[in-house]
């Protein structure tokens, strides 16, 4: 693991975590808090552990960094037995983020972030540079925030510092225990987006504990739905769980609006989009008119020379007209990126006064999304899930 590798650039990518027959039984309790859990958390992925409160998801996570010692079973981090090293040493290489960040109020932001590098005996200069780098990474201006104290920061900012602190020594693995549970929904959404952006850069292995299924869907590359005793009821990718919940327990957890959530995990670019009729700005209105008539389409999308959609041209507007088609169009006000999810596409459709919204990839037109597109995409996802191998239950589909 990266104990003192390169100070800059967050170089340590995630490693695989393997839990083998992990059990935690507290003395005097009949049922095990964590009962024989076996799962593999692939390197560089975010795995969300979701379940009702008291199901043992936090306990399971704390077994990984040995804040709780297992009664039996094995934990392998990057192929190495977690119990080979003293627990304190192990934990310095496993990032840990808790609700509200868990910042120490008597230490400045810089002191908080530098704690683990200091324990790893990094020299002063390197530690100071790393602190600034980490604050920048989470979007806080180091010059402005370095010397402040936690109470001078908002909840969201504290949470960001918490993430910066956990990442300071560049651990390959990050454990996050309901980190965004205590902030308002708007801030939470923003923090989630930021975590995804960070992860695109860092490729850590992240274990994310939450009781919020929507959060799990948004963040998780995989979701493990846990019931009492940390039993894995279903362990699969979000789309699969949504399209094909393993049983009523999972269905209950998904709650109402499973289809809506499915919209959330599907990118617009990944579904079959309508091609529509397109025209160059310089095309002759009469030609476009006849092409529309032929295709039986009411609208043409006029593209500029960079293939960006700029105007709508309706068949009525073009009727009997000649000259460049761009003279008769109405400007396109709403477009959507192919990287956005179907739910955002639906939003755009509902907010727009047209039946179609042009989809772009790097500003270039790639197709049209309509209510029909969304509906058939959902049907298709359900079909795919049905045809796929039996829903992965128990130890998972990895």
């Amino acid at each position: 693991m990266a104990d003192n590798g390169n100070g800059s650039g967050g170089a340590a990518h995630g490693v695989e975590i393997e839990l083998r027959n992990l059990t935690k039984k507290y003395p005097g309790q009949a049922k095990a808090a964590v009962d024989d859990v076996t799962m593999t958390i692939p390197a560089g992925e975010i795995v969300a552990l979701v379940g009702p409160s008291g199901c043992g998801k936090t306990t399971t996570m704390k077994l990984i960094n040995r804040l709780i010692e297992p009664t039996s079973g094995e934990i392998l981090i990057g192929g190495e037995d977690a119990r080979r090293r003293p627990a304190d040493i192990l934990r310095r290489h496993v990032g840990y983020v808790i609700q509200q960040g868990g910042l120490f109020p008597h230490m400045s932001i810089a002191e908080n972030v530098s704690l683990v590098p200091k324990m790893l005996k990094w020299d002063k200069k390197r530690t100071a540079e790393r602190v600034d780098e980490m604050l920048e990474l989470v979007g806080l201006d180091p010059a402005n925030y370095r010397d402040r104290f936690p109470r001078q920061l908002s909840g969201g900012q504290q949470q960001r510092v918490g993430v910066a602190r956990a990442l300071a020594a560049d651990p390959p693995v990050l454990l996050m225990d309901e980190p965004f549970g205590a902030v308002d929904p708007i801030t939470r959404g923003r923090l989630q987006d930021e975590l995804l952006r960070l992860q695109e850069e860092l490729h850590k292995t992240i274990v994310f504990v939450t009781h919020d299924f929507d959060e799990a869907v948004k963040l998780g590359d995989r979701i493990a739905v846990l019931s009492e005793g940390s039993h894995i009821v279903q362990y699969a990718e979000p789309a699969e769980i949504l399209a094909r919940p393993a049983n009523d327990f999972v269905r209950g957890f998904i709650g109402e609006g499973g289809a809506m959530k499915l919209l959330h995990v599907t990118r617009i670019a990944d579904v079959d989009l309508g091609a529509g009729v397109t025209a160059k700005a310089t095309d002759d209105a009469a030609t476009v008119h006849s092409r529309l008539a032929e295709a039986e389409e009411p609208w043409a999308v006029v593209l500029d020379k960079n293939s960006s959609p700029v105007q709508w041209a309706s068949i009525e507007d073009l009727d009997g007209k000649t000259g460049p088609v761009s003279e008769y169009g109405t400007p396109i006000t709403t477009t959507i990126s192919g990287r956005a999810d179907l739910q955002a596409g639906l939003e755009a459709l509902l907010g727009s006064d047209t039946d179609f919204v042009p989809v772009t990839r790097r500003r270039q037109y790639i197709g049209l999304v309509s209510l029909n597109t969304v509906q058939s995409a959902i049907q298709q996802l359900r079909e795919q899930a049905k045809q796929a191998a039996p829903a992965s239950v128990g130890e998972g589909s990895a």
Binding site: N65, L67, D88, I89, L90, R91, R92, H93, Y96, I98, Q99, Q100, G102, F104, P105, H106, M107, S108, L115, V116, M119, F149, P150, R151, R165, A166, L175
Partner: protein, 215 residues
Amino acid sequence: MNLWEYVRNRQELLWFETYQHASMVVQCLLLATAIGLIIAVITYRSKTASAVATGIASVLFTIPSFALFGLLIPAFGLGTTPSVIALVLYALLPIVRNSVVGMSNVDPALVDAARGMGMSRLRVLFKVELPLAWPVILTGIRVSAQLIMGVAAIAAYVSGPGLGDQIFSGLARLGGANAVNSALAGTVLIILLALVFDACFVLIGRLTTSRGIRG
């Protein structure tokens, strides 16, 4: 002779006794703080243990000071030793109680975070728990200081050092020359000393408490 002349006349002796008084209080406080913190650190994690510790300290606290000094004579004789022992015992209660309360009030989530990032138990204690509990602990020490400032006067009963001598000898000679002046001088000086100490504690509090948790 009025009080002022009395003080002027015995300036040197009074200075010396004031110094002795202050020095005894400071040393007893340091000793009591060390012992109190150790007791608190050993017991604060367990509800029973910390209850027993504060319980014992409370019992010691309720013994009338005059009686306590007297009880110490057979074992330790007269002079400085019994005085110091009695003062330390009195100073313990506020320090132990505040330390236990201060440390057990540290947010468990913070201790969890500290452990989770790889701090050893000892490091958590010195880096997180004690600094966070410090303002409360310091308040305990401050209360103890005020408390034993007065009790220290009674040390004169076992021939201990300090301003108590002025009070005791004054009271013993009531009606005699300068008896009232003597008792008054001792009392006033103790009050002044207490005020100076309190001001010092305010200063120490500001200097030793992190800006991040200062009220």
